[in-house]
């Protein structure tokens, strides 16, 4: 009878313990805990301890990943900032014409290969899909050229037939202009285009990345727009030095523009990726820290409860013997 009373009392202690734990434990763990608290007392803290160990490990890993991303960001940030002067002369000469109306649009989406970098890849894909929609219409077609695994995973799901070219694992070596020039050459050779729209995340600061799109027109469209007037209307007033014909020079110019703009886009996107990863890992470590605090409280409560039940057993046993 004393044992029955004990068991009842054990359960009374168990009930307030179990409820705050409900949110943080899986159902199987919760059941074993309930049984553990009311039955064998020393084993109940084990589960919480295991959980604390794994959360602590996760916190360490995410902290390390944040440090790594910070150092990579530092390395690549100076290069991205220095390359910003590269595309400005082209925009000054050929203007910025995102609303140009052409038949063949090619959307070049720049994304990362690795994950855990926040929402930047999803943003790029959303903007690419938006551009596809903006440029859809009768006689108009848009195709995708994808750089990076993450955009490929998202776009392959619903736009598989529109994907022209996929390039992945090109960031293994540190980025330099030669590599990007070869990449740009590949794209230009394999893709027919009237306008190329490059979508990337521009690195504004460590916490802010702006989705941006740059438009590079093919030489025929440049000539057409120059004749039509508007932004490119002054292009005709420029004398051409070198090369045999104006169209040859324009072709070289647009190809050079594409490689320069790609270089800048790729560097900016890499910076944004590292910055986004830094903030993602930072919030992850903070979350893990919070979880660890809650688990520590639970652990202490469980431990103290088990000690109390042991004491009660001993004392009631002793008092039963006496009286």
């Amino acid at each position: 009878m004393a044992m029955a009373a004990l068991r009842r009392e054990g359960r009374r202690f168990a009930v307030p313990l179990i409820s705050p734990l409900r949110s943080s434990l899986a159902p199987s763990e919760y059941e074993t805990m309930e049984q553990a608290v009311s039955g064998a007392r020393s084993i109940s803290t084990q589960i919480v301890r295991n959980r604390m160990k794994s959360v602590r490990n996760i916190q360490k890993i995410t902290k390390a990943m944040k440090m790594v991303a910070a150092s990579k960001l530092r390395a690549i940030q100076t290069r991205a900032e220095k390359s910003r002067g590269l595309w400005q002369p082209f925009t000054a000469l050929l203007g910025d014409t995102p609303s140009v109306d052409v038949k063949k649009n090619v959307i070049v989406t720049v994304s990362s290969d690795k994950g855990l970098c926040g929402g930047i890849n999803s943003t790029s894909v959303k903007i690419s899909r938006g551009l596809y929609k903006v440029n859809s219409g009768p006689e108009k077609e848009s195709k995708y050229v994808i750089l990076g695994e993450k955009a490929k995973a998202q776009l392959v799901r619903d736009s598989k037939k529109d994907i022209q070219l996929i390039i992945t694992e090109w960031q293994k070596n540190p980025l330099n202009y030669t590599q990007v020039a070869v990449l740009a050459d590949d794209i230009l050779k394999n893709v027919e285009y009237d306008a190329l729209r490059i979508v990337f995340n521009k690195f504004q600061s460590v916490v802010s990345f702006l989705p941006t799109t740059t438009t590079v027109l093919s030489p025929e469209v440049v000539e057409r727009e120059a004749e039509a007037g508007g932004k490119l209307g002054e292009l005709d007033s420029y004398e051409i030095e070198g090369g045999e014909t104006k169209s040859e020079v324009l072709q070289n110019l647009t190809e050079f523009q594409f490689s320069c703009v790609m270089f800048n886009a790729v560097l900016e996107n890499a910076c944004s990726e590292q910055g986004a990863r830094m903030s993602a890992m930072d919030s992850s470590s903070r979350n893990a820290g919070d979880m660890l605090d809650r688990l520590t409280l639970t652990y202490n409560r469980t431990r103290q409860a088990s000690i109390t039940t042991e004491l009660i057993e001993i004392i009631s046993g002793a008092s039963a013997l006496q009286g």
Partner: protein, 203 residues
């Protein structure tokens, strides 16, 4: 907004650092008409997502064409990995266009020039700085702003004559032993660049 504009134009020497350190505040110049058309098109097709930014939002507008010929030429020399000269006011530059050395003075007619490997000399008063450029493009705008975009540019005093000589002989050999058009073209490019380099060292 317009109070800052003159300071912005005068201070273009540090414009490269200034341009991106300023956040996207309202004191950037208003976007050109192409952008508003784009934003309208975007809003109609995709109303739930913000439109992406375009390059003209990130650069300061160029000065307009002045009515009289300005006294100085503003030069920007940019490479993929650095901007060597950024809004530098000079008297004259001589660019190595494919049609020969071309001198550019303030008030030069607007030109797009393709460049071949050669020397770019920048004259400011009595100093002349020479850079060897691998090819690129030079845009001279009507407002006396010259943009020179090259893939590589080194000051001439940093070129090693022995390496130039070695490179020249190596590429000439490759040209002689080239089997197909691609190899021939590559070897020819190597020969051209190295002969331009040796000419730069001597002349």
């Amino acid at each position: 907004m317009w109070r800052r504009a003159p300071r912005f134009f005068l201070d273009r020497a540090s414009a490269a650092t200034m341009r991106w350190s300023r956040p996207f505040s309202s004191d950037l110049p208003t976007e050109a008409s192409g952008d508003t058309t784009f934003i309208d098109l975007w809003k109609k097709a995709v109303p739930n997502i913000d439109p992406p930014k375009t390059p003209s939002a990130y650069m300061a507008p160029r000065p307009p064409v002045p009515s009289t010929i300005p006294s100085k030429l503003t030069v920007n020399l940019v490479l993929p990995y650095d901007s060597i000269l950024s809004a530098k006011e000079v008297d004259m530059v001589i660019v190595p266009a494919t049609t020969g050395q071309m001198g550019v003075l303030p008030g030069h007619v607007a030109t797009i020039a393709e460049l071949k490997p050669g020397i770019l000399s920048v004259h400011e008063g009595t100093d002349v700085s020479k850079y060897f450029l691998s090819s690129g493009f030079a845009f001279i705008h009507a407002n006396s702003v010259a943009d020179i975009i090259a893939v590589e540019a080194t000051p001439v005093n940093r070129i090693d004559p022995d390496l130039v000589q070695k490179g020249l002989t190596e590429f000439q050999q490759k040209l002689n032993s080239a089997s197909n058009d691609v190899e021939k073209a590559e070897a020819q490019i190597g020969v051209d660049v190295h002969s331009a380099l040796s000419a730069a060292l001597t002349g």
